[in-house]
Symmetry: C3
Subunit: 136 residues, 3 copies
Amino acid sequence: MVTHYSLQVGPFPRGFHLITHQVFKAVPSWPEEGMLQVFMQHTSAGLSINENADVTVRQDFELYFNRLAPENMEGLQHDTEGPDDMPAHIKSTLAGSSIQIPILKGQPALGTWQGIFLCEFRNHARKRDLIISILE
Amino acid sequence: MVTHYSLQVGPFPRGFHLITHQVFKAVPSWPEEGMLQVFMQHTSAGLSINENADVTVRQDFELYFNRLAPENMEGLQHDTEGPDDMPAHIKSTLAGSSIQIPILKGQPALGTWQGIFLCEFRNHARKRDLIISILE
Amino acid sequence: MVTHYSLQVGPFPRGFHLITHQVFKAVPSWPEEGMLQVFMQHTSAGLSINENADVTVRQDFELYFNRLAPENMEGLQHDTEGPDDMPAHIKSTLAGSSIQIPILKGQPALGTWQGIFLCEFRNHARKRDLIISILE
């Protein structure tokens, strides 16, 4: 059985943001054993699981991803929505558009230091639509 | 319940290709609520979800990935099948080998601008075998 | 139905390691049709599916990822656990924290050349906790 919940988050400033609590709060009850998936319905933001404690990790991610796919790269054509447009698409594919977490004994089994990142790659983003799915 | 469908696509030229319609056509009927997964059975091509409208996005992806993992990088050993061999493996891990899309109200819930990319990383690829799975 | 199995692997030296056999041995029986997921409960190691035959592929991956996210990058703040700390988090997001494999006719449907990589990004790692999930 698969049950879905819609969740709208943000708008967030460009950067990496912890949304673990917002995602977990959107699920009214957890099965004993199952699978949680979160899906991003946009192509200029991503989802990832990473370190949940130190804000410098998220700041370093933003610095690093901007170096990995900088604005105004020579040769890129797609800039309809500005210089952050195509880099945002690239970063979205590198980070990924969905995350999965097993549900054990009635709760999502994240490791101690794991949290869910919403990776906002646009300079002026609107709210982001997520679909949370519980498979059991 | 999990139901699988085999789908062979291509051969594609090296680059990023939209296969959304081919994937959706391979599914004879959709459950009301469920999950769609597409799995790539190869290690030199990838799958991703990204922008479905502007062909320059796919061209920019090809340009960018070639810069990110160029051919003939100093120090790489694995070139059994040519200079595009090891870069193809690297790109495949960066893009990913499967994608997931929630199924809501009887259809896959892609966002407005989302499509399924087959990322072909070899210069002279053969057909690619995909496994489409419907979880319900 | 979702069934989980815990698996502890390693400790591994920094690098890319094939764990296909360890993962498959941890599953006592396979459904006829289903889905296998492996989830990494850590933020400084990753999972990926890639080439299973030639050890130089795994060596090249280690070389490449070290170039992609080198230690001591200018501007990074998070080095609580040493210079390999933040690069390990970055690499973990680029590789991913889970993999999925369809189960067909009672066995995981990996392509001929596909294996499961545990990507160890720390210099001195401890054992790693994985959760294996079978969806059917």
